[in-house]
């Protein structure tokens, strides 16, 4: 059901507390829509939210993002994650980092990091470790490849394990991908030509429904497999 800001959402029947998610806000006794989109409800009925799309990122705790290093300080790095404020990445927020052994990121480097502090009144903070085991687990500097910007909705769909585009594209041409929930995606493949074709394919997949994925991907087959 399509909802617009100002619409009042009836509180779903549930004995548990209902958690109000993105796109909704509480106004005294009512749940009011704040963003346009499709109203969704979890199967168990305890969560409601609005599924919308936007391009601008607002940092949320625990989300993985791709950032660009813009400055280096003694205590850490200033990283641009595309939000309203630059984020800070502590020099010791990496696996196995000590005062003697700090990571050496250059200005302009890409990092895949996790938002560890997101508060509307403060600048966001990042770290490059998995909080449960203290290991890197894919976080850290990302070398080579190419990063492109997209809408937040496309990022979410690229993280969907059932996304058919990724499977079909991967079958034709193996590639590596890191998806930042801040509207940035990094891709690496065998040759630069393949990377460019993959980027084009991924960006275009936003407008194509899952059912037509196979036919859509077929169009890129020749460009991905040709040897040049």
């Amino acid at each position: 059901m399509v909802v617009l800001p100002g619409d009042i959402v009836p509180i779903p029947e549930s004995e548990q507390t209902v958690r109000v998610g993105p796109g909704l806000r509480q106004d005294v006794a009512n749940i009011v829509v704040a963003k346009a989109g499709i109203l969704k409800q979890s199967v168990t009925g305890d969560r409601v939210w609005v599924e919308g799309n936007q391009r601008r990122y607002v940092p949320q705790l625990n989300e993985s993002v791709i950032g660009i290093v813009t400055a280096k300080h003694v205590e850490g790095f200033r990283v641009d994650i595309g939000g309203a404020h630059p984020a800070t990445l502590g020099a010791l927020a990496f696996e196995g980092a000590t005062k003697r052994n700090k990571p050496n990121l250059e200005i302009g480097a890409l990092v895949f990091a996790r938002v560890c502090l997101a508060n509307k009144d403060m600048d966001p903070e990042l770290d490059c470790v998995n909080p449960s085991n203290g290991k890197a687990d894919g976080f850290g500097e990302v070398k080579g490849g190419f990063m492109f910007k997209c809408s937040l909705g496309l990022c979410r769909s690229l993280l969907d394990p059932k996304n058919p585009f990724l499977q079909h594209l991967g079958a034709i041409c193996p590639f590596e991908m890191a998806v930042g929930m801040n509207g940035r995606v990094w891709v690496d493949a065998g040759t630069p030509k393949q990377i460019i074709v993959l980027v084009k394919a991924l960006l275009g997949s936003e407008a194509v429904p899952y059912s037509k994925a196979r036919t859509y991907v077929k169009e890129f087959k020749s460009d991905l497999t040709s040897v040049e």
């Binding site: 617009l4 800001p5 806000r25 704040a34 963003k35 391009r55 309203a84 404020h85 429904p209």
Partner: protein, 220 residues
């Protein structure tokens, strides 16, 4: 016979709206009453200069550019009125120390560009995913020299009008006038009449917004 083949004094010109018309903006939209058309773009919440930042809410930066010529006091007043409307609609307190930039460009003007600007701004904010309390719909009405009320007047009808009224209503509470701006000479009764017709016209525009959004989000 009015413009666009209208026969009814209380009839709107054909409405048009589209989203995402600018590829670089965070949000954008185009809204038109017949050939009067306005393009709106939204950037934000983004970085703001320290001297403009507010510690508890986003800073709204509004700019209105005319179809031709340089912008002047007319557009400064338009910016101020648009700011009053948008400040009330946008939940700026969830983005402190940031800026939300709204730019309006008039691309066609056959009367009522201010109403088109309000509507385009509201839709562009929607496209950008900026959290809002409600949506805004605006219409303009004019009283012709005979005292007849005309809804959504063309430039020709505005030239001979005795008074012109621009009303804005939100979709959450139509007992509250979100904004009104009237000029000319008129009586309190005429004002009331304009207010009532405007209320209904704005409700029509809100339905139009919903239909347009439903078409945009329809599963393919």
């Amino acid at each position: 016979m009015r413009s666009n083949g209208r026969t009814d004094e209380h009839q709107l010109r054909p409405l048009s709206a589209s989203f995402g018309v600018l590829s670089r903006a965070d949000g954008s939209s185009r809204f038109g009453f017949g050939t009067t058309e306005v393009l709106a773009s939204v950037f934000g919440p983004k970085e703001v200069r320290i001297r403009d930042e507010k510690i508890d809410s986003a800073t709204l930066q509004i700019s209105v550019r005319p179809l031709n010529g340089l912008s002047g006091p007319l557009h400064r007043l338009a910016e101020r009125q648009l700011r009053d409307l948008i400040e009330a609609a946008v939940l700026a307190s969830i983005h402190p120390r940031s800026a939300i930039q709204v730019t309006i460009q008039v691309t066609g003007d056959d009367g009522c560009f201010m109403s088109a600007a309000v509507n385009a701004a509201s839709l562009a904010l929607l496209d950008a995913g900026v959290a809002q309390r409600h949506l805004l719909a605006s219409v303009t009405l004019a009283f012709d020299p005979n005292g007849t009320l005309l809804l959504d007047p063309s430039l020709k009808e505005l030239e001979t009008a005795k008074s012109v009224h621009t009303f804005t209503f939100s979709n959450s509470n139509d007992a509250v006038i979100a904004g009104v701006s009237s000029e000319g000479v008129y009586s309190q009764d005429e004002y009331k009449q304009a207010c009532t017709v405007a209320q209904q016209a704005c409700a029509t525009i809100h339905s139009f917004y919903r239909k347009t959004m439903e078409q945009k989000l329809a599963p393919q």
